[in-house]
Symmetry: C2
Subunit: 397 residues, 2 copies
C-alpha cells in the first residue's frame, strides 16, 4: 500500500479553495459559514468516492466510516476568523488519503472525521466536546458567538443524517501542524506528541456608567475600559508566583459599548483564556482571575459578571499509539524527529474520553498559525502523511 | 410675541420618533442614517411651514433662512450611536419655535440650522467644521467611520440644494442641554456659557504579530492589546503634572484584530480623545501621548501609527450675545441661573470663526448624556426656550 502524495497535496489545495482569502494561502472558513458547509459537502463526496459510509451528526461533525472495527483518523476543517490553509485541514486530508489507500489495499480498516467548530466560534472544540459527551448538546445550544448568534441557530444549516457510536473505533490519531516555533527552530521534520496542555476560557463583563466624554470629570467616571486595563495590568503581577515559562494567558477579544470616541464606555466584554499542562495550576489561575476582577469592580463601584467557564483538562497520549508514531517517524525521517508537548488544544483532548488517542505534528514555518501567513514546507507535509500511513500500517498488521 | 410651549414640546417628541430606540427616551439617529435623513426631511417641512427658505448644503447641513440680515439659532439633529432625545435636537426645535414665533410677529428676523454629524461619526462636529471653513470638504471626504465607510460615500444620500453665505447672519446662539452634572447638582435652571473647552481626537494603531494563543510563549509575543493596556496605564502617571481637575481624557473605542479569544491580537486600533480649556495644555498632552505610544511600541518591537489629529481650539463666547442671554436668564428664572464653561464641544465652536456666538444650557438630570437615559425636566426645557426667546427679542429691538 502506498499513499499518493500528489493527490494528497491537490486535495489540500481544493479544500483551501473553500473560503480562500487574504494574503498568501489564507482561509476564512469559520464553523457553519457558507464556505465551511460547502467544504464539508465536498469532503463528504470524497469519503463516498473512497468507499466510506458518510454520517453527519447533530453538531455537524462529518464522519466517513469503514465497516466493522476501525482506527479513526482526522481533525477539523473549520478555520479561525482569519486562518491558514493547513491547521485542521491537513489532518482531515491526510486521513482521507490514508483511508482511501487502505480501502484500496483491502486494509487495515480506517474511518475518518472532520469535527465541527474546533476553532471555538462557540467556545472550545465544540463539535468534539459534544460528540465525546464532555458537553451536552442542550447546553452547547445556549452558547453564543461574539455577534450574539446562538449555536442552536447556527447549526440549523446542518443536514443531520445520524449519530456515530464511538465503540466501533479502536483509537484516534490526529495529524496537525505544530502551530508553534519548536520544530521549525530545531529543524525537525516530525513531532510526536507526549501530552496536550489544558485550557480555560471565560468571558468577563465589566458594567460601569456610560456617559459623555467631555462633561464627566475623571474622578466620577465608571469607565469599563479602564476596568479591563487595570485588571490586565494587575494580572501579570498576581500570576508571577504561580505560572511557569510555558504557561500562557491571553485577552484576544474585547468589545466596548457603545465603542465611540466621545463616550465613556459603560460596558466591556472580553475573553480571558489561559493554558497549562497542570490542572492544579489552571485552577489557581482561575481563582486569581475571579478574585482580581471582583476587586477591580469593587474599587470602582462597578459590576463584574463571568460567563460559563469553558475548558479541557491536560491529556497524556496513549502509549501504544504513540509508540507506533515514534517508530514510523524514525523510519520516515531517519531520526529527524522529537517528542514534544502540544501547547495548542486539539479535538484529540475530547476524543480521549472515548478511546486511546495520539497526535503527530509537522513544523509551522516561523511558528505562525491562526493567521493568513501560516504555512509548512511541502516536503514536511508529505513526511507527515507517510508517518501517519506507516503508523496505521504497523497498528493494523 | 409669545412662544408656544406645548407646540415646542410636541415637536420635540415628533423629532424623537425618528430613530426612537432603547429604554426611556433613547434615540439612535447617527449622521446620514435613514432616521437622520428622514428627521431632516420633516424638519425642512417645518421650516417651510414657518415661512423660511430651506437650503441643504453639500455636507447635509439644513438651513431655514429668513430674508435679509438675521440672527442664526440652532444646533444639530444627529445623535450618538446610542443617544438621548434632547442633546442637539433641543436647540434645533427651540430655534424652530422662536423663528416661527418671530416670523408670525413680524420680527426680529431669525434663521435656523441643524448641522450634520456633530456627534462625530466622521470626526468632530464635521458638518459645522466644513461650513465654517475649518475643514475642507475634500479633506473631510477622506474621513472614515469605525466601519471603514468614508464620509464621501455616506453623504451621497444628501439632496444638495445650495450653499449658505454666513455674511447674512449677525450672530449665532445655540441652546443645548448641559450634558454634565453641574446645573442639576446646584439646582440651577439655566447656565449661560462663558467659553467652550478645546478638544483633540486621534486614532492610534499598534501593529504587533498575530499568532496562536496556545503555542506562542509570553516572552516572544507582540500582543497589540497588551500595548494599548500598557500605554493606557502609563498615561495617567505621565499626565499627572500637566492636567487640572477639569481636564478629561478618554479611550472610548477600541478594535482588536482579529478579535478572537484563541488568537494573540496582531493589531489594535483605538481612539484617544482629550479636552481642556487651555490650548497650551492640549498641546502638552499631545506630545506626551505621541512620545509614550512610540516608547511602548519600541519597547515591544512593534509599530505605532497615528491617524489625523482632529480638534478644535477653546472658544470664548461673544460679550454682547452673552449679556443678552444673562439678562434673559435673570428675567425668566428670577436669579436661578449661573455662568459656566462648557466641557462638551459644540457646533458654536466652529461657527465662532464666522460670527459672534453664544450658548445657553438647561440642566441634564444626573448629568447623564450620550446615553438612552438622558433627560431634562419639562419645566427646564420651557425655561430654556423662554430665555432664548427673550434674548432674541432684546437683541432684535
Amino acid at each position: 500500500m502506498l499513499v499518493n502524495a500528489e493527490r494528497f497535496l491537490a486535495d489540500l489545495h481544493t479544500l483551501r479553495s473553500f473560503g480562500a482569502s487574504g494574503v498568501g494561502k489564507g482561509v476564512v472558513r469559520p464553523a457553519y459559514s457558507q464556505p465551511d458547509m460547502a467544504a464539508r459537502d465536498w469532503l463528504a463526496q470524497q469519503m463516498l468516492d473512497a468507499g466510506l459510509r458518510v454520517v453527519v451528526d447533530p453538531m455537524g461533525n462529518l464522519f466517513g466510516l469503514a465497516e466493522g472495527p476501525s482506527l479513526l483518523l482526522g481533525s477539523h476543517s473549520d478555520s479561525q476568523p482569519e486562518g491558514g490553509w493547513l491547521d485542521g485541514a491537513l489532518g482531515v486530508i491526510a486521513a482521507l488519503e490514508v483511508a482511501r489507500t487502505c480501502r484500496a489495499a483491502g486494509g487495515p480498516a480506517v474511518s475518518i472525521v472532520s469535527f465541527q467548530d474546533e476553532e471555538g466560534r462557540f467556545g472550545v472544540t465544540t463539535g468534539s466536546a459534544v460528540w465525546s459527551g464532555h458537553l451536552a448538546l442542550k447546553e452547547a445550544d445556549l452558547l453564543c458567538d461574539h455577534e450574539g448568534i446562538s449555536l442552536a441557530d447556527a447549526r440549523r444549516v446542518v443536514n443531520v443524517t445520524g449519530e456515530v457510536d464511538a465503540n466501533q473505533f479502536t483509537g484516534f490519531i490526529e495529524m496537525h501542524i505544530e502551530q508553534g516555533p519548536v520544530l521549525d527552530a530545531a529543524n525537525k521534520q516530525i513531532g510526536v506528541v507526549s501530552d496536550i496542555v489544558g485550557i480555560r476560557d471565560v468571558k468577563i463583563t465589566f458594567e460601569g456608567q456610560q456617559n459623555h466624554a467631555g462633561t464627566t470629570p475623571m474622578h466620577v467616571r465608571k469607565d469599563a475600559f479602564q476596568a479591563v486595563s487595570a485588571f490586565n495590568h494587575a494580572l501579570e503581577q498576581r500570576f508571577s508566583n504561580v505560572v511557569t515559562p510555558s504557561t500562557v494567558w491571553t485577552i484576544g477579544h474585547i468589545n466596548l459599548h457603545p465603542n465611540a470616541s466621545s463616550i465613556v464606555p459603560g460596558r466591556a466584554v472580553f475573553s480571558m483564556q489561559w493554558r497549562d499542562g497542570d490542572t492544579h495550576r489552571l485552577e489557581q489561575m482561575e481563582r486569581i482571575i475571579r478574585t482580581l476582577a471582583n476587586e477591580v469592580a469593587d474599587d470602582r463601584g462597578m459590576q463584574v459578571t463571568f460567563g460559563p467557564l469553558l475548558g479541557l483538562e491536560p491529556v497524556a497520549m496513549d502509549g501504544k499509539l504513540r509508540a507506533a508514531l515514534e517508530g514510523a517517524a524514525e523510519a520516515v525521517t531517519l531520526g529527524n524527529w522529537r517528542v514534544m508537548p502540544s501547547g495548542a488544544l486539539h479535538d484529540a483532548t475530547n476524543v480521549s474520553r472515548l478511546m486511546p488517542v495520539a497526535m503527530v505534528f509537522v513544523p509551522s514555518i516561523n511558528g505562525i498559525s491562526h493567521a493568513f501567513e501560516e504555512d509548512t514546507a511541502e516536503v514536511d507535509l508529505v513526511a507527515g502523511l507517510k508517518v501517519l500511513e506507516a503508523a496505521v500500517q504497523s497498528l493494523g498488521s
